[in-house]
Amino acid sequence: MTPLLEIEDLHAEIEGGRKILDGLSLTVNPGEVHAIMGPNGAGKSTLSYVLSGKPGYVITGGSIRLAGVELSELTPDARAALGLFLAFQYPLEIPGVSTMAFLHAAVNAQKKKRGEQEMTSPELLKRVREIGKSLDITAEMLRRPLNVGFSGGEKKRNETLQMLLLEPKLCVLDETDSGLDIDALKVVSAGVNALRAPERSMVVITHYQRLLDYIVPDVVHVLAAGRIVHTGGKELALELEATGYAQFQNEAA
């Protein structure tokens, strides 16, 4: 079986700056949910940015393959079309671009790139309304400019809506629980869980164990000082909650 995500000995740094990822390796098979936990500054967000191709990060060694395709030279939009989705920790507000217009552009840009039939506006609207219903996203929210004036919870629900609409192969969730109250967390988690499928994988990056009560991982990794220092089952998350990361930070050093 080809792994869905295969990261090998990845080294990356901020352009003109600090080295952040230092020999990170990670393999995620289709259908698996992996949690990546770690202390502040371990490189969790950097990993999500390097995976998605954010400008300003330089890969200095190693490789990232999605379903066998090397990503490191591809632009963010090409990676998205291959099925990579990053749910942002802080989704951007984009004044003047309506949420619907954005969704339309995103869905059809990906379909076009993959050589698939593009969606018409009525088809898209119908689909978005269906998904929106399950996430408590109102028609009024969809008319607003993208994320502008949305609360933290609304932004995360909007991220989840995009994920459900785009049906990616690999979902990378960057601190999805940050800024969420317990009710919003339940709604978002239910949305994410609805996407779990034998051919789809998830990488859930989180600082706290709380999220993993709702999105239960198959594998838990500890990321410290730019690499995976420990791997275990879902019980590892509980253990970390009790003991903290100190032991692993020593391991990394």
Binding site: S52, G53, K54, P55, G56, T75, P76, D77, R79, A80, A81, F85, L86, F88, P91, L92, I94, P95, G96, V97, A101, F102, A105, A106, V107, A109, Q110, K113, P145, Q162, L166
Partner: protein, 442 residues
């Protein structure tokens, strides 16, 4: 001393003097108008073309930029008139009354002059020749100015449109003045128009300007607007001149009490474009919205210079300008809100923003407040910057390619001012023009 001044004249100034000397006798107008022309040319001649030491022209050194003055354009021939019929297509979807001004001459045969109660339309040349009282009563008096470019227009104005909307008349359709330059060689067009909207009248005016690429024609246009008490007047102007054209335009507007006035200007084409706007809120409790956007590339230079004068109490004005600059384009925004002593409780806000898409583009902004009343709320702000890299990344991370992501962000940036236009079909047409600009830069 006089000889020394004469020696300093530029080739363009000398050519303009020759043009005026040769044309003065045949330009339309009563003896009073002719005297006004002579006085205006003397005023121009004494100071010459404005240059960077003239504060209002600080960033647009016309003395340097206008190397030569083209001869006056000849009246359009039948073929030119026929071709002009298809112009103004940007607003084809707007059900407007279309009036055509070709090579500076009003063309009644092409224009929709179907009668409408309360509306009178006249050619400016005819009005000047007949000593029309409306023109005599307003020309050059709407907002007094000592600007040299406006003086040059007063000296050399050939034709244009005079529109009168009677008291209480709400026009059924917008009026679209389609300005067309149809020229094979450089020529100069001096167009003068007047719109008088009496008390409680309602009129929506659209103006488009277009012409051939690569021909260095020169447009000097002036429009005076008088909006009476309770009138609702709006103008949308699109400057889409040819690639080598120079377009200098002066708007003078005087607005009465409890009126609504709006002005929206979009610069899409022309080598050098200057839109100078002098708007005077002369009656209390009036609301004015002024906005505009310039979309420039190559070596285009566009200058918007606005004076919003609050002369009466309790008026509200909003000024919002955007510039999108690619290549080595240059944008100038000078905006002054002047609040006279009588204009207590003025509420005025001005914002200009420039988006620089290249390292060689340039934005110059000079906002000013000049306040003589003590109980007012006024504010201004300006920004200049590149596209937001994080916003672009967010769009790309959802699969939207770089050029399309940029286009979405630029559309949104300009859309903020387009959204202020009431008429949806006008808004849609403008967004279409903006998309065309964005496609062209790919």
């Amino acid at each position: 001393m006089a000889a020394a001044v004469h020696l300093m004249k530029t080739p363009a100034e000398l050519a303009l003097a020759e043009t005026f000397a040769a044309a003065a006798d045949r330009l339309p107008g009563t003896p009073d108008i002719a005297a006004g022309r002579a006085a205006a040319f003397a005023q121009f001649s004494a100071r010459g073309l404005p240059h960077r030491r003239v504060e209002a022209w600080r960033y647009t050194d016309l003395r340097t930029l206008m190397r030569d003055a083209a001869p006056l354009a000849a009246p359009p021939d039948a073929a030119a008139k026929a071709r002009a019929g298809g112009k103004g297509a940007l607003f084809a979807a707007v059900a407007a009354r279309r009036l055509y001004v070709v090579n500076g001459a009003f063309v009644p045969g092409l224009s929709d002059l179907s009668p409408e109660p309360g509306l009178a339309i006249l050619s400016m040349a005819a009005a000047l020749a007949q000593g029309d009282p409306l023109v005599a009563g307003h020309l050059g008096q709407v907002v007094p100015s000592d600007d040299a470019v406006l003086a040059l227009n007063t000296a050399l104005m050939g034709d244009g449109v005079v529109i009168h909307v009677a008291k209480g008349t709400a026009l059924a359709r917008p009026i679209h003045i389609v300005h067309v330059a149809d020229l094979a060689a450089p020529a100069a067009l001096f167009v003068r128009s007047l719109l008088v909207a009496e008390e409680e009248a309602s009129v929506s005016l659209i103006e488009t300007h277009e012409g051939p690429a690569d021909i260095a024609y020169q447009v000097n246009g002036a429009l005076e607007i008088v909006a009476g008490d309770g009138a609702r007047v709006s103008r949308v102007k699109v400057t889409a001149e040819g690639s080598a054209a120079q377009h200098l335009a002066s708007l003078s507007a005087r607005v009465g009490a409890e009126a609504a006035f709006s002005e929206a200007g979009f610069v899409l084409g022309g080598a050098l474009v200057r839109n100078q706007l002098a708007i005077r809120l002369d009656g209390a409790d009036t609301v004015a919205h002024v906005c505009g956007a310039s979309l420039l590339s190559g070596r285009q230079h566009a200058d918007t210079t606005l004076v919003m004068e609050h002369a009466a109490p309790r008026c509200e004005s909003r000024e919002a300008f955007r510039a999108v600059l690619d290549g080595a384009a240059r944008d100038v925004f000078q905006g002054r809100i002047a609040v006279r002593q009588a204009a207590q409780k003025t509420d005025a806000r001005m914002m200009s923003r420039a988006l620089l898409l290249s390292d060689t583009a340039e934005a110059n902004a000079k906002p000013e407040l000049e306040i003589f009343a003590d109980d007012v709320q006024c504010g201004h702000g300006c920004t200049a910057g590149a596209l937001d890299a994080n916003q672009k990344f967010y769009l790309m991370a959802r699969g939207i390619p770089a050029t399309e992501a940029e286009a979405l962000l630029i559309e949104a940036f300009v859309g903020e001012v387009v959204d202020q236009i009431e008429d949806e079909t006008v808004r849609d047409a403008l967004m279409g023009a903006i998309r065309a600009f964005l496609l062209a830069r790919r």
